[in-house]
Amino acid sequence: MSKVIVVTSGKGGVGKTTTSAAFASGLAAKGYKTAVIDFDVGLRNLDLIMGVERRVVYDFVNVINGESTLKQALIRDKRVDNLYILPASQTRDKDALTTEGVESVINELKEDGFDYIVCDSPAGIEKGAFMALYFADEAIVVTNPEVSSVRDSDRILGILQSRSRAAEQGGTVKEHLLITRYSPDRVEGGDMLGMDDIVEILSVPLIGVIPESESVLQASNSGNSVVLDEQSHAGQAYTDVVARFLGEDVPLRFIDVQPKKGFFKKLFG
């Protein structure tokens, strides 16, 4: 049975694309046949983050319009087996994605034996974001520890609960909260919302906390997903998210202030 997972947030720039790339790579690395679809029509970026930008020939909209087959448009990742990327179109036509078109692509992926279909949502609550979440079985709501991001996450949760196909059919989309760009030091200092507070406000089960990390920028610079960087705390945190998603019981890491090694440690440790 294949599953459709939307990575969404409402607010822009919180880490949806970074998460989609890492999550899809992580699932594929575990042996699941995974497709990740860029729904950000007009602002294609997933291909760049995943380092396949030079291999884009056809895109999502070409497939919907019958200008190419799905097989022709899917890009197979060269580093991770089982991983395929469907790039967004650069068209400025806001209506390029239709419900029927999106549905037919998702159905074809299911028929082709994909275990997981990850949908990287654009920001906002307009058509593109709606299309990305409409067919979802599960949702990863990406939130930064910051007031406007938390509020937007709440709005997107409301949309998932009322306007997704699952909701229309009387069911529910399984929700997961992912807090990204988390700085334990700033939480400790009292100028950043803590993870417990965010969970309390949104009341959605937490699937992970990704620390603010320089390695994310480095990974995107080089077009390697951050999960492939085994040294990176953010990468390790994403690996944990994938494990939890697959049902493993993995404790949270990188959520406390890292003890400063050095003088005091030598003195008292």
Binding site: V150, R151, G158, D191, L193, D197, I201
Partner: protein
């Protein structure tokens, strides 16, 4: 309890606490507004009902009133149609 915890208590409310309080109030309000808002299908429902009634009697646009009353356990769809006076 040392000197440091004494200073900590004196410190005014940190901004993260403020953020949490503001968000809780805002989100509670937004959820309440959503619950009060009429369902999206209401205008269409009203038009279609009007169409059906007009097959049989002539009623004016304003003679059909559709309202959803939100209750705690269930909601009530209230339909009010004023028929023209019999001649």
């Amino acid at each position: 309890m040392g000197l440091f915890s004494f200073f900590k208590q004196e410190k005014k409310k940190d901004t993260a606490t403020l953020a949490k309080e503001r968000l809780q109030i805002l989100i509670a309000h937004e959820h309440a507004d959503n619950r009060k808002r009429a369902p999206d299908y209401l205008p269409k429902l009203r038009d279609e009902i009007l169409g059906v009634i007009r097959k049989y009697v002539h009623v004016n646009e304003n003679d059909v009133n559709v309202k959803v009353e939100k209750g705690t356990d269930y909601d009530v769809l209230e339909l009010n149609i004023t028929l023209p006076e019999a001649k």
